[in-house]
């Protein structure tokens, strides 16, 4: 691929239970610390699952300065706006824009895209109608009559899935091509893929890709539990005793630019996006094909797009949600593509939970940080590799990547899989 058509990563932002910036999260993960702890958002002490990766110790004001906005958006949106803002500022957009004349600044806004993978839970949003339902006592006419005096007039706007997209645009004056992906756990990874394609095809000079989610709410936790998806205490990817995942909340963002746009700003590239692939199992909302067929097809598509061989991959960040089925089919897919000797493999959900719509972006951000440090972090909760999945190059201790290229896997409901390939670029001398 021509140098000028490369898509570079020039800014990162992240927040989750393990920290409020990529380096802090990296340190926590590298120290083998899990930030999963007892749920604080409600008293879950008597619950069958009472653990999650919540963002604590940050109030709304610390996430988003504009207080007027707090009543207009949900918790997931606060997290998304925070991470996006950090990435945009990390990339140096606001400072650069101040150097532009009025016309060039307008062009900058029109030529900057925003792509969001949006989550947020489906249930608590509508609980604002509970007092009205009580007042109506089953009578819809009363419900209709009492509506205006009982429910916040901004309710619908507060619950828009595309709020992060809207308010990033307003906050930073970004007006280019955009999308809001609402596709469960592949939302974030697809937002990255579409942002890259927009930049690659010249629809934008640069784009911000964001993933955000806050699924730790009572009804969601209970459903995941009843479906057998949640572990009682810890997330143990690929372990013989793994019993499921745990939910986490947070957000992450990447700034992507053409090499030409980055050079024009004198921006320091942190990494390069190489390729992506998306495929489906088509067997239902919750079904997963045992053989991992569609996941291996996604990996192959990403390798083909990147123009590299499986042997060039230096590290795999598995989806590793630690459910019996997902990990087994994931191991099968990895073996199909990489044969008997895959590169060092890790996963991150043990450290801060499964961030659903945000997971693909957060794990891509951390993959870049890991590769820049030259370390594949250990799977600290791994005790015994499931013999049915062996051999698989996982370890509770850190490993060394084989190269500067990382493969990140995301899997969502509907049997939809996404594979992303990134290359970390070395930190320059200064």
């Amino acid at each position: 691929m021509a140098e000028s058509s490369k898509v570079l990563v020039t800014g990162l932002g992240a927040v989750c239970a393990a920290g409020k910036d990529p380096e802090a999260i990296w340190k926590s993960v590298g120290n083998g610390q899990s930030a999963i702890s007892p749920i604080q958002q409600w008293d879950a002490s008597g619950w069958p699952t009472s653990m999650a990766g919540e963002v604590t110790g940050m109030d709304a004001r610390a996430l988003v300065e504009d207080r007027k906005l707090h009543k207009m958006i949900r918790r997931t949106d606060l997290l998304g706006l925070y991470a996006a803002g950090r990435a945009i500022e990390d990339a140096g957009f606001p400072g650069y824009r101040e150097t532009l004349d009025a016309e060039a600044s307008v062009t900058f806004g029109d030529r900057t895209g925003v792509f969001v993978g949006s989550g947020g839970g489906a249930y608590q949003n509508q609980y604002e109608f509970f007092p009205l339902l009580t007042a109506a006592a089953g009578d819809l006419r009363t419900f209709g009559r009492e509506l205006a005096s009982t429910v916040n007039p901004m309710w619908l706007l507060r619950t828009l899935p595309n709020n992060v997209l809207c308010y990033i645009g307003i906050r930073y004056g970004l007006k280019g091509t955009n999308a809001c992906v609402t596709n469960h756990s592949v939302s974030g990874a697809l937002a990255v893929m579409e942002a890259v394609e927009a930049v690659r095809w010249g629809e934008a000079d640069r784009a911000v890709a964001v993933g955000h989610d806050a699924p730790v709410e009572p009804e969601t936790v209970l459903y995941y539990h009843r479906l057998g998806l949640l572990a009682p205490d810890a997330v143990r990817p690929f372990d013989a005793t793994r019993r499921g995942t745990l939910l986490g909340e947070g957000a992450a963002a990447l700034v992507l630019e053409t090499a030409a746009a980055a050079a024009a700003r004198g921006a320091m590239p942190l990494g390069e996006f190489l390729g992506g692939g998306c495929t489906s199992d088509a067997e239902g909302l919750l079904a997963i094909r045992e053989d991992g067929n569609s996941l291996s097809r996604a990996i192959t598509l990403a390798l083909d797009e990147a123009g590299i061989a499986a042997a060039d991959v230096g590290m795999i960040v598995a989806h590793g949600n630690a459910t019996r089925q997902s990990d087994a089919s994931e191991a099968a897919a990895i073996r199909r593509v990489f044969g008997a000797t895959p590169p060092p493999l890790t996963a991150f959900k043990w450290a801060f939970g499964h961030l659903l719509a945000a997971s693909g972006v957060l794990e891509t951000v951390l993959a870049l940080v890991a590769l820049r440090h030259g370390v594949v972090p250990g799977l600290a909760t791994l005790r015994t590799l499931d013999p049915a999945l062996a051999p698989l190059p996982v370890s509770p201790a850190p490993q060394r990547p084989r190269s500067d290229i990382g493969l990140i896997l995301s899997r969502g409901f509907g049997g939809i899989n996404v594979a992303l390939l990134v290359r970390a670029l070395p930190t320059s001398g200064n």
Binding site: D43, A44, G46, D110, V114, Y123, Q126, F129, F130, P131, L133, T134, A135, L140, R141, G144, L147, V151, M154, W155, L156, L157, L160, P161, N162, N163, L165, C166, G169, I170, L174, K175, G176, T177, N178, A179, C180, V181, T182, N183, E197, W201, E203, L222, Y223, R226, C278, T279, S280, A282, G284, L285, L286, S294, R297, G412, F413, G414, G415, I416
Partner: protein
């Protein structure tokens, strides 16, 4: 810089709308100017300030989808989607098979309503009967929350059901940018084929917010026309007396197909899906700028993307919601993009008859554009009685207009400021093309 890649043909259309439960009945009602708006029938809206909507009528999903188990997991909007997609596949005469399934993608604009009203009432009964939420009551001794409720309420349920029903094994995505969702889904589908990630894409949108909570949301914002006594006249885009939109529901799906493959198999090509433009208004969450800033960039980008010049455009299917602000701002945007040619373009908002299908609107209106090109007919903008000097475009009044359409545009602008514009080209206008029937 090359923007275009491979060409994309529209070879199949399916619709479930307030005007009819398939493509043909919807199109006939549109041409005849028959309104789909009436008093709300699916629940007692008697206490609401707005008691009218454009509902889908007499729809039985089992008559189209012979899979009861699958339908158990489908909300009404998902059932609309499954039926519209089935019709689109039949219309195109092609569907995924063992050799092609991995080359099929799926891109849907999905609604924002998570839980159905009955399920919210059930949750209220279980854990908030006194009006306050008691999480522990969810644990109850009874059955507790039903996993089927969970399965039906996921944002990816619709796309998952479509993948399963049709055996689509390639790229699959669901997007939501409020009223721009359907347009953005089609744009995504087009790009998948252009860049070679798929050879066929099932693309469209589905939504239903005609339930007590959805209706409440728009009533609270004062966005809906309160003309309960004259439902058929309530949606009157570009009329000086317009006073809000009418909530609709439904689905539309299009089969997008790589152009050369469509030609090789002698497919009927309704139109080329030729361009996509997206912008953010970054102004206010519900408003577009009075100057049309935002929509202007979307239209300009879409034309550039299609390789079309403004004078090529003969028809615009407007976003035309019938709110005072949208229609004025949209007209300003059209004037800014097209200059003097703006007044030579036939413009209509089919929301005048079928209401606003929210996340499905862009998909339904894309299907309307494809049919308009195919039949050489610009559908009527109903209910325009009192012209608004600020909406001084050539709005199609009185009846549908017979005219050859070279290039058509479809606008969709969403809450949150996402603007989508799609460009459709008459297959006869595609260079070097001798399309099928």
């Amino acid at each position: 810089m090359t923007r275009r890649g491979r060409r994309v043909a529209i070879t199949g259309l399916g619709m479930v709308t307030p005007l009819g439960n398939d493509r043909v009945s919807t199109w006939e009602a549109l041409l005849a100017g028959r309104s789909g708006v009436g008093p709300i029938r699916t629940f007692d809206a008697g206490g609401f300030p707005v008691r009218i909507a454009a509902e889908v009528k007499g729809f039985d999903p089992r008559s189209v989808i012979d899979d009861r188990k699958l339908l158990k997991f489908a909300k009404p909007s998902h059932a609309f989607a499954l039926a519209a997609a089935e019709e689109a596949m039949r219309d195109a005469g092609i569907r995924p098979d063992a050799t092609t399934a991995t080359r099929w993608g799926c891109a849907v604009g999905t609604g924002m309503m998570g839980v159905e009203f009955a399920d919210l009432v059930e949750a209220h009964h279980q854990c908030a009967a006194d009006g306050e939420f008691h999480p522990d009551h969810l644990l109850g001794d009874g059955a507790g929350p039903n996993p089927i409720t969970f399965c039906r309420s996921q944002c990816s349920t619709g796309v998952a059901l479509l993948l399963q029903r049709f055996g689509i094994l390639g790229y699959a995505t669901a997007v939501h940018t409020a009223c721009a969702s359907g347009g953005q889904a089609l744009g995504t589908g087009m790009k998948l084929i252009r860049r070679g990630a798929a050879d066929w894409v099932l693309a469209g949108g589905f939504d239903s917010m005609i339930n007590p909570v959805g209706l409440s949301g728009f009533c609270l914002l004062g966005a809906l026309s309160p003309d309960n006594e004259s439902p058929e006249r309530a949606s009157r885009p570009f009329d000086a007396t317009r006073n809000g939109f009418v909530l609709g529901e439904g689905a539309a799906f299009l089969i997008l197909e790589e152009w050369e493959a469509a030609r090789r198999r002698g497919a009927r090509i309704y139109a080329e899906l030729a361009g996509d433009g997206n912008s953010l208004s970054s102004y206010r969450i519900t408003d577009s700028h009075p100057s049309g800033d935002g929509p202007i960039q979307a239209m300009q980008q879409a034309l550039v993307d299609a390789g079309a010049d403004p004078p090529d455009v003969d028809y615009i299917n407007a976003h035309g919601t019938s709110t005072p602000m949208n229609d004025r701002s949209e007209c300003a945007a059209v004037r800014a993009v097209f200059g003097p040619h703006a007044f030579k373009i036939a413009v209509s908002s089919t929301k005048s008859l079928m209401g606003h299908l929210i996340a499905a609107a862009g998909a339904v209106e894309a299907a309307v554009c494809a049919l308009a090109i195919h039949h050489g007919l610009a559908p009527v903008n109903a209910n325009l009685a009192v012209p608004d000097p600020e909406c001084d475009l050539d709005i199609v009044r009185g009846g549908s207009r017979v005219q050859r359409i070279r290039v058509a545009l479809s606008n969709s602008f969403g809450f949150g400021g996402s603007n989508s514009c799609l460009v459709f080209r008459n297959p006869e206008e595609v260079p070097g093309s001798t399309p099928g029937s």
